[in-house]
Symmetry: C2
């Protein structure tokens, strides 16, 4: 009952029929990677999904122990070369497009997000070192991660510095230079470190944001003072670094991923090597964070996706009630009831909308290095991909429980755990509120290049759709929605600085829905090209088109209803005194 | 940190300033009951909130054991006469208005819903027997429950009969008559029985829906064949009845309430006494179910309410980020950020909207027996009170987690458990989909009396609000929203029978938001009468008005955006073949 995962047909549709990934990698290789991912996910990830939730990580004698099945699964993941898939050959990689790796990651995330989180962080960590580190750092710290022998973390938050990284107090004092670069001694407390300790990989490479004290020993103010350090758990000379696990966070979900409070430098100071130049820490970390944000979006879509598959299966099997107005006496599968179909279609519009959005962004990653437009569009869409998938993916998980009725509320079914797991995604790697400020402040009002590019792409889709009777109405709605967005941006850019962010989060919600409406129309248009394939694809095609129509009938209008309050600069919330709550 | 509960000021506002409950009960008595409820809730219910979640009920040697603190709390609840509060004096009660008891229940539900569920079910059970039972049944089975010595359950669902009660297969065969009425022998399996067994009360009174076989031994078809039986765990002669606990459901939340699969009559047949006439079971049960539905709504509002209090407290204490545009260097409490204020105001609009809606319904219960309009309005609003509070209460819980950030995702804070607890409410006592059919089918298109009554009430509110510059706009919006509802009803009533329910659930969402918008305007108008009370109430008044404005600016428009699809009779979901999913 719990063994369904993501729809492969849908992944193939997105990668090949829509994103035409075969221009980047041959179909055979892509199929082989995804087949292998499906098998490993089913055989080694899904199998301990429930067990790793029940038997949480625990701390004993200063060491964190995680469920042993996680180690078994990840060793096979490493053996199949999946850690290395996206890396260039010179770093021991397979040089596959990021978009293909992202689809593979989605399959693992659907099966077991908290096990998949370890390689996700490891790969992002290694990529950062491979990008900004010196050759000896890549050799020593990135390659063992690319091989999957060591795992990686990102250490940003501190108890007093969550969303505000300028408050970081971890200090890094210069020690001496060696063949690995400039060596520092770090001291400070890092909070919420996923994979901060575990007993599965040979070593753990922490990437730590810290500040180098000024001449008067004070720490520089602001984020410009942040530098980035490679701080391994076990040093190259095999000795333990000065890092202590001060505690484990006991989460409501996502439990297989050990989440730690780490104390660096309680004794002589934890040894760490500076990456690149001092003061570049946040900029460098943003590379890892942007990758992580897209991964969070993909993970959220995947967790939602499995819940959709489970709900569909349950709805086909569960007999309850009769068909309205038929006078039929036998009970029917609940999938025949309008209310259930409405919920399934809503789920489908969220799940496949989120998957399209996040894999589209993954495709942009592949293009960003050689195409400035793709790079700008990626910057614009990253906060949307992270947030929309997290928020609406979670809604899809909620619907899956509702379709299961009382059964969905029991721990005998996976849908409740999937819901708990997905609840983390609107929080970590930047909350929804932080993403909203990034989108509106940095990506739209400051950078600004992404909007006209997106506008042109949307106009192209509108143009194509307007020519088809099936999608004429949607084309008109999308054109109108986009001009509402442009109008809103013009209006918001005229607001006083102190008012601009008053309704940034509703704006993100609105913007996200317009973007996903566009991607639904894109997907619907692709189905026109599938028509010649005959009857066997009719259900799939009808499903895509209905989900598109559903999104335009029920979803987009609700989001657009937020426009008047946003454009009027409503201060009903922002103007409230703290005392009224 | 976790000891805040519901806002008493808000409860007082709703009961006294708005609903003018003092016309039914003197203020002193009401205050005394609520004071006592707050104390007992804090001292005995909240104290085992976490413990009862961790140490779940367990089954050993055929008996269910629940957390002992639940028994301690409920004995005190009984000693203070709280089981009996709403019953007439002749049944050993205090004859308090139901609305006052509902407010008291809200306080306990906020502190610990799964402990509060036992008396909630017990009181509803006893009221059913007191209403439909014969004198000896009341004496024997209702009074010990009114005294809080015995607890009660409702046994409706079976594995194959969840939302479809006509599928009930439990059979009741006539045995003989005795001084307790017509005695039957029952056999069958009942699923999802809250409080189905426990080791805390002296006895358990099950109210069991079953069918009396026809002459050919077959069971009558449909719900008309359902009869209701009193089936005690321990019989009047002190022997155990033939009821076996076949299993416990392991839920994701609401864990203190043992939820059982009960097998009746595995041996000689469970002894049960018929209530009233055969075939009246569902009608009788609906009395209990309607009370339970309002209680579910109140509970959902209360669980959400505590999460709002916790979020507010956290937001006042947590320092993070700076005030936008002030250049201030010190971190500020997050309650000063627009995004957090937006979330808190949204929560407030849900929590206090749901509490207003459900306590309004409780007030209608007090009036329904003597006033036909109130009775009709209560019927109309019951599915709304149950559903809207459950759905948007859950959203409020979700927001509380978001405000807590990563901390809210850990089990060190209560907000995650509150969210898990509240997830049951859109499911039990009739899912959202079932409530939507009840609202649109039975309450609007079939009965129909409720709508014009509600229309007149809304028109009165609109008239009053239109005279005040503060609320003119809201008055116009509400008038327009209500005429949209009337238009939608006219349109829907013209649809073919097989199409009417195609979008019943979106209609319920729309209808619920319009009703709550009305109640927000009602509450805002009441604040005009508080103005003379001076400065001390200014924050409270401003809070109510802002929440009202927020609801009209951000919430109502989104719900109204569903109108076109509903009125067009969209078949995008209902017309979908099962194979497209």
């Amino acid at each position: 009952m719990n063994d369904t995962s993501l729809s492969r047909r849908n992944i193939d549709f997105v990668l090949h029929d829509w994103l035409q990934i075969d221009k980047k990698a041959d179909r055979e290789t892509v199929d082989a990677i995804l087949d292998l991912s499906e098998r490993l996910a089913a055989d080694q990830f899904l199998t301990h999904y429930k067990a790793a939730d029940i038997e949480e990580p625990y701390l004993r004698d200063g060491r964190v122990h995680i469920h042993p099945a996680i180690g078994v699964a990840l060793r096979q993941y490493a053996e199949l070369g999946l850690f290395s898939a996206s890396f260039p050959e010179r770093h021991g990689g397979m040089e596959l497009p990021y978009s293909v790796c992202a689809a593979s990651f989605a399959i693992f995330a659907a099966a077991n997000i908290s096990t998949a989180a370890y390689p996700m962080l490891t790969v992002a960590n290694a990529r950062l070192i491979a990008t900004f580190g010196q050759e000896s750092q890549i050799e020593t710290f990135a390659k063992p991660q690319i091989a999957g022998r060591w795992f990686g973390t990102m250490c940003l938050s501190e108890p007093q510095a969550g969303s505000s990284l300028d408050e970081v107090r971890t200090r890094a004092v210069f020690d001496q230079s060696d063949q690995l670069g400039e060596r520092y001694r770090l001291s400070g407390n890092k909070m919420w470190i996923s994979g901060g300790d575990q007993d599965v990989s040979e070593n753990i490479v922490h990437l730590v944001l810290a500040k180098i004290p000024l001449a008067d020993d004070s720490l520089p103010k602001g984020t410009a003072g942040l530098s980035l350090f490679i701080v391994p758990k076990i040093l190259p000379d095999e000795s333990r670094n000065d890092i202590r696990v001060a505690g484990l966070n006991h989460k409501m979900g996502y439990r297989g991923t050990a989440n730690c409070l780490l104390n660096f430098g309680e004794e002589a100071g934890a040894v760490g090597w500076l990456i690149g130049e001092p003061g570049q820490g946040l900029r460098q970390m943003f590379m890892m964070m942007n990758e992580a944000r897209i991964s969070v979006g993909i993970g959220a879509a995947a967790i939602a996706g499995r819940s959709y598959q489970l709900a569909t299966t349950y709805a086909r099997e569960r007999l309850q009630g009769r068909e309205t107005g038929t006078g039929e006496r036998e009970q029917v599968p609940i999938i025949r009831h309008a209310d259930i179909k409405h919920m399934l279609l809503q789920q489908k519009s969220y799940v496949e909308g989120a998957l399209a959005l996040t894999l589209y962004c993954a495709r942009l990653v592949d293009e960003a290095s050689s195409d400035a437009d793709s790079d700008a569009l990626l910057g614009l869409l990253t906060p949307v991909a992270k947030t929309w998938s997290s928020e609406y993916g979670l809604s899809a998980n909620d619907i899956a429980i509702q379709i299961h009725g009382g059964y969905g509320y029991t721990r005998d079914f996976d849908v409740e755990q999937l819901w708990r797991d997905n609840r983390l995604n609107p929080i970590h790697e930047g909350t929804t509120g932080i993403q909203a400020k990034d989108l509106l402040g940095r990506k739209i009002l400051k950078d600004g290049e992404g909007i006209p590019i997106l506008g042109r792409k949307i106009a192209a889709t509108v143009g194509e759709a307007a020519a088809h009777s099936h999608f004429k109405e949607q084309a008109a709605s999308l054109a109108e929605a986009w001009s509402s967005i442009e109008h809103a941006i013009t209006t918001l850019s005229g607001f006083h600085q102190s008012k601009v962010f008053d309704n940034a989060t509703p704006f993100l919600r609105l913007f996200g829905h317009v973007v996903v409406a566009w991607l639904w129309l894109e997907q619907a248009l692709v189905t026109l090209r599938l028509d010649h394939l005959g009857d066997s694809r009719n259900d799939f095609v009808d499903g895509k088109r209905r989900a598109c129509h559903f999104f335009y009938e029920f979803e987009l209008p609700q989001a657009l209803a937020l426009l008047p309050a946003i454009c009027a600069g409503s201060d009903v919330a922002s103007g409230a005194a703290a005392e009224i709550f």
